[in-house]
Chain length 99, copies 2
């Protein structure tokens, strides 16, 4: 069962930078100081999503990486999407604190 | 000076899989046997584009990686875009022959 819109919004209050889009995606844009740092982040994202076997839609537009998550087979946002979003944020914070 | 539409189309005849889109982008979708192989390809693409200091717009949708190139500052497609497209194709062929 996917979360209701209200449940998603409550979850996202504790998940920095993520927003609900079109009622069925959660989305965050991450900006980096260089293109190659954005690519290093995508490598981290890939390792996390491979562990979950649940893959975000990723776009790389120069120094900006956008991640979109949904649970298509469930028709909405589930706990897995929220859990992954938190892990991407942790990977981002770790990279940022290492700069 | 960007290429004319006819010049782009002539160039793309020799550049497998790339197509002109909306008159100002050249685009190719690459499909892989796994998500992580697509990510390995994106790492190759990143190294190539960093060498050119000219970056494609990249999307990763599970096993499909889409690259879009343009020379925004020139208002169209230039020789650099075509050269990069060839190098991405070479990286793709190299990965495929290594499987």
């Amino acid at each position: 069962m996917p979360f209701t819109q209200e449940e998603v919004e409550t979850q996202l209050k504790k998940c920095e930078g993520w927003q609900l889009q079109e009622g069925r995606w959660i989305v965050r844009k991450y900006t980096f100081s260089s293109f190659m740092k954005g690519i290093a982040f995508v490598d981290e994202v890939a390792a996390i999503s491979e562990a979950f076997k649940h893959y975000p839609f990723i776009t790389i537009d120069y120094k900006t990486v956008t991640l979109r998550l949904t649970s298509q087979e469930e028709g909405g946002i589930t706990a897995v999407d929220i859990k992954e979003a938190h892990q991407y944020n942790e990977a981002f914070e770790k990279m940022r604190s290492g700069e």
